[in-house]
Structures are given as structure tokens and as C-alpha cells.
Amino acid sequence: MAKTSVSSPKNVERAEYFAPGHRACQGCAEVLAVRLVLKALGKDTIVAMATGCMEIISSPLPLTSWRIPWIHNAFENPAAVISGCEAGMKAMMRKGKMPAKKINFVGMGGDGATADIGFGSLSGALERGHDMIYVCYDNEAYMNTGIQRSSSTPYGASTTTSPAGKKSIGQRTQKKNMVEIAVAHGIPYVATACPSFPFDLLDKIKKASETPGPAYVHILSVCPTGWRIQPSDAIRYGRLAVNSCSFPLYEVVNGKYRVTYKPSDKKLIPVSEYLSGQGRFRHLTDKDIEQIQAATTRQYERLLKLSEEE
């Protein structure tokens, strides 16, 4: 694999493939992630996107924010649609109906599109081995329809369909581990990323693009509206998520784990620092947070062990 490291702002692609003037909320880190992903991919890219916030804020007829070819079809099928684009172009190029060219085929969906309603169709596309990248923008709920829970909503978060109440902590289930599920498909490249760590994100998307076959990149995308934080705090919360090990940054290349960013002792923080300022976790007790801390530590240690084993 070629070395692709983008370690300085000077190396970042200047061209913008996602136009300004979109309708995302102030401080939306999901749309920032989209913008960065497109910078890493460059112009020879086709995107198929699920219904959700990013589709709605970018494509009100007759306007579009997309400067690369883009298709939205439905909520649950971006992986299948992009696999169809890939199959179609592959056949036409092979048959000489179209000049050969390296194109990034990229499916994109929110956590709902990915972990819930489009789960089967994503699994099918990964398993079939298309030369494609799937990017999940995980803001940990169905934001487009008003902050309903998804299977990717973390334990204890209050959403409009998992409200905290006298008899409920909010979300009662553990966050579905989509990254491990992607790894279990035996695909050559899987990674996590967060736009609060832009160079790491750009690197991983480039690697995904250079990897033949399917790649899966799971991006934690802070949503100030749904998480009930200040728009100006979105980037900071992405850092808190990573530095508290709630959302570790790592990649799995051909089954080999590597943590790409380990918070130094100075940076490492308890999960309480990440959770406490967010409206969605406001109701949690110290005991609840202790429990979440224990689970987080356990999972992070497991990950470190996996990456050391290599």
C-alpha cells in the first residue's frame, strides 16, 4: 500500500467537492466529515447516498451541493446502489463500451441506514467483494427524523424513542459494533475515524480508496442538535469521544488491528468528561457513569490487545 499520510494542512486537497450553501445545522460535524471524505477521494468518485440528514441538507431540487456524480435512491440501499454502479462500469469498461479509468465507488449512509434498515443490503455488498468504499456517518441516532434511537445509539442516551424516564435510563442496549461486524466479513480494509482528527480521517479514506475490494469506514459524526450541545463545541466533543476511549481510532487491514491514535497519559480522560456536558446524558447518575466507564475501559483494553497481538 502506498504511503498516503496527510500530516500537514499544506498537503490537504484544496478543491472542494461539497459546495458551501448546504442546509446542515450550525456546527454539524457530519457534514464536515462528508466534506473531508470527498477531499480525500478527489474528483473521480461516484457517491450513492442513503436518505438521512446529509441527503436532505444537500439536495433540495433543483439545487445540489455535490460537485461529483451523486445518486440518492432510498434509505436502506446505498451499498446496493453503489455496487450496481460499480458492476455496471466494470462491465462496460471491460467490454470497451467506456474508456477504462480508476473510479472510487462510494456508498454513504447514517448509522440508521447502516446498522439498522440497510444492514442486510450492506452485508450483501461487502460479502460480494465489490471494489467499493462504504462510509457510515455515525451520529448515534436517526437525526433527520428527529433524534430517534438507532442500534448505534450508546447505552444511556436519551432520544425521542428511548427517552429517559422514571423507569428508564434511556437507551437500554449497548451500541451495536458495526466495525467488528464489517471486520467479520473478511474485507481488506476497515477503519474508524472522526473529523475532529482530520489528518487521520483523510489518511484512512485514501487507504480505503487504494484498497482493491470492499472497504468500510465508520466515522463518528458529532451532531450538536441531537446530542444537545453547543454548535461551537462539536469539534471538541469529537476529541473528547476519542480521548475518553469511547470511540477509539483504529484500522483493520486484512484482519490486522492497529490503533492509529492512542491518547497520551496527558490527553486520556474519563468518560464522565465526555458524557457530562451532553444533554442526551444529562440524567445519568454517577453510578451509571461508573458502569459506562468500566465497559469502555474493558472494550478499549480488548482493542489494544487485538492490536498488540499482531
Binding site: 439545487l63 458492476a87 455496471g88 450483501g124
Partner: protein, 392 residues
């Protein structure tokens, strides 16, 4: 392949036609009675007889989604399904038409669950009647083979750009071995040149497809869609005429048999047309002035041709293959009644629903539908529908 006449299972003839059409992408999920079509196609691809991507998807929902992606990049795209498969993909079936994505589907018509049944009727296609696909019905192996090419030609016509479903009765047609005349590859290439889609997804000319519509634009988008389907009509006719010129086999949106001096007619859609013609021949020999009207093009509905075929007749006996529960009759009869409402010389309509889930409708049954139907018409008993052969 050269021009040749062979005895072949109709499903195999479809797969062979798809190969001759030089399709680029096939995405399908197995379901009886469509399976032989996709099995044979995957064989053809595996043997290198067709250079295409066969995408073995995880569901029909994904099949239609893959087809949308592949059509959006301008690849020639084919799929096939039945019944529950169509129901599962129905969300994307509508979107394919709305996004004006050309593709062809062989729809092996089968009843909808429940009770679960693998046998033939038209309840599956009627569920998506209003999706905006061009819907053709065929009666025999030759018509099926021919209409695969015609369907691609219609679908990819720059003035049309709509998906096309070729409806054929499951088992009754899919699993029959029939004589089919194959055309040679040269003729097919002349009739169906390489597909060059305008505005396909490609990095050299970025476009956005599938944007969302606010109320101030949704209505106009729907009208645009309606015009698209309606305006496809002359191009559909042209595609059939051109095929007729090349092969001598002619197709029309509405086809008639012995109707010139007929006082009343039986109306069918799909493979029942052949049985109806045989029974009409027998009745004619007995002096009955009866004919057959066959609806080949279901969408866009051939209003003018249909009216021209039946105005002035006394009665129509319409045989439907599906029920519109709680409605006013079978879907075909309901449509025809509305086409004739308050027209001068409009025949009265008597409606039978018959052959649900493959229950056999023999020549004898057709004869009683026609004679009984005529009596009903003469007695003015024309409301609703009769479920033919219902056991007490």
C-alpha cells in the same frame, strides 16, 4: 447466434434473448417461477457466452437497487422476479421509474401471499400498476423472446427512458417448451444498438440524481413523470413496428381476433388469449358472433386503441386474474369500465375473475364464461364481478 428455430423452455429463451441483447448487468434473487431464467443466465455468464456482471444479491430489494445503480451509470440492465420478490422490491420499483432509469424486467406473474402460493395469476403486477413502468403482456414463447428486445429498445429510447416489465404467466408460460424462432445476432444489433445514456453518472460530467422535492416542486415532478409515461406510447408502437418490419412478427398495444363483425367480445391479458381464441373459433362455428380483444400494453394504457376496438360492440366479458379487494371488480375491468364511461356505443361490461393461483381455466371453462357472461350482459347484470369456479 444465427437465425434458428428451436424447441425451448420459455425461461431459457428469455435468458438467451438477454444474452443476445448484450446486457451488461444482471441482478436478481431466485423465486419460483422465475428461477430458471436467472439460473440459465448465470450459466451463460459463467460460460463466457455473455460478458456481463451477474450480481447475486441478498434480496429483491437489493436486486432492484443494484439495477438502479447500474442503469444510472448507463449499463444495459436486466432483472427478473415474481410475486413476493416484487412486493419486497416495490419501494425501489417505484423509484426506478421516477428516476427514469432504463432497465428490463421479466416478471413471471405469480399470486401474492397469503396463503402462500407459487402459482400464476396477476396479483403481483397489479400491486405496482401505478408505479410508472411500461407494462407489456405476452402470450407465448415467441412473443416473450421478441419482447425482450422490444422492451430494451423502448426502455433506452431517449424519448422514453423508462423501465419496462415484460409480464409472462408463471409456469403456464415460463415452464413451457415451445417452438421459438431465434433471430441472428446481426439483426439484433441493428435493432438494438449499444446503449449510450445521456446524463449517466460519470466523473467527467457530474450530475446529481434523486434529489428531494419540496411541495413547491413535487407536483411538477409528478406531472413530468406522467407526461413521460404518456409520451412513451408512440415510441412503444414504433419499437414494435420496427421489429415487425425486421422479423415479420407484429405487435400492437391492443390486439383483436375475429372482432370485425363480432357483437360481443371476451377481453384477456396474458396467456389466456390463446385459449380464448380457440374457444371463439368453436363458438364461431356454431354461429356465435364473438371475438377476442387482447390487451398487450397495460401501461401506458392504450385508451384510443382500446376504444376503437370495442365501441359499437354490445358486450364485453372481461377476464381478470386478480381481485381489488373491496373495489368494484378486477383491476382490468375497472379500468375498462372507466375508459368507456358515457361513450357513445359503449358495450356493457361483465367481469369474471378466474384462474387465481394457477387454478386451471380450460376451454370448457372459457366456453361457460362466455355463454354465462353473455346472458348476464343481456339481463343487465353488470355490476361488480363473479369469482369463476368458486366452490360453495
Amino acid at each position: 447466434m444465427g437465425k434458428v428455430r428451436k424447441g425451448v423452455e420459455v425461461s431459457i429463451a428469455i435468458a438467451d434473448a438477454v444474452a443476445q441483447a448484450d446486457v451488461d448487468v444482471i441482478a436478481a434473487y431466485p423465486i419460483t417461477p422465475q428461477t430458471h431464467i436467472v439460473e440459465h443466465l448465470s450459466e451463460i455468464v459463467a460460460d463466457g457466452e455473455l460478458d456481463a456482471e451477474y450480481v447475486p444479491v441478498d434480496s429483491e430489494h437489493s436486486a432492484m437497487s443494484v439495477c438502479c445503480g447500474s442503469a444510472a451509470v448507463g449499463a444495459r440492465t436486466f432483472t427478473s422476479t415474481s410475486s413476493q420478490g416484487l412486493a419486497l422490491m416495490s419501494e425501489i420499483f417505484f423509484i426506478a421509474a421516477a428516476m427514469r432509469l432504463p432497465m428490463v424486467m421479466a416478471l413471471a406473474n405469480r399470486s401474492l401471499s397469503s396463503p402462500l402460493s407459487i402459482w400464476n395469476d396477476h396479483s403481483d403486477v397489479m400491486m405496482v400498476r401505478d408505479a410508472g413502468w411500461i407494462c407489456i403482456f405476452v402470450e407465448n414463447g415467441q412473443e416473450t423472446y421478441d419482447n425482450i428486445f422490444c422492451a430494451f429498445r423502448m426502455s433506452e429510447d431517449p424519448e422514453v427512458m423508462l423501465p419496462v416489465a415484460v409480464n409472462l404467466d408463471g409456469f403456464i408460460l415460463t415452464h413451457m417448451i415451445e417452438p421459438v424462432e431465434y433471430e441472428d445476432d446481426d439483426l439484433i444489433r441493428r435493432y438494438l444498438p449499444e446503449f449510450k445514456m445521456k446524463n449517466a453518472l460519470h466523473p467527467d460530467h457530474p450530475v446529481s440524481m434523486g434529489c428531494f422535492g419540496m411541495p413547491e416542486i413535487y407536483t411538477e415532478a409528478q406531472m413530468n413523470r406522467e407526461m413521460g409515461v404518456r409520451n412513451s406510447y408512440p415510441h412503444i408502437v414504433k419499437a414494435w413496428e420496427e421489429w415487425g418490419r425486421l422479423t415479420g412478427r407484429h405487435y400492437r398495444p391492443v390486439e383483436t381476433y375475429r372482432t370485425d363483425d363480432a357483437e360481443y367480445c371476451i377481453v384477456t391479458m396474458g396467456s389466456y388469449g390463446e385459449t380464448a381464441m380457440e374457444v371463439v373459433d368453436a363458438l364461431r362455428a356454431e354461429g356465435e358472433k364473438v371475438g377476442v380483444v387482447k390487451i398487450r400494453l397495460w401501461r401506458p394504457f392504450p385508451l384510443d386503441e382500446f376504444r376503437a376496438a370495442v365501441l359499437g360492440k354490445k358486450h364485453l366479458i372481461v377476464v381478470d386474474r386478480a381481485i381489488t379487494f373491496g373495489g368494484q371488480g378486477g383491476p382490468v375491468a375497472t379500468e375498462l369500465r372507466s375508459a368507456l364511461y358515457k361513450r357513445d356505443g359503449a358495450p356493457t361490461i361483465v367481469n369474471y375473475v378466474a384462474g387465481l393461483a394457477g387454478r386451471d381455466v380450460s376451454r370448457k371453462d372459457f366456453r361457460s364464461i362466455i355463454t354465462e357472461g353473455r346472458k348476464k350482459a343481456e339481463a343487465g347484470d353488470t355490476e361488480g364481478f363473479t369469482l369463476y369456479g368458486l366452490r360453495g
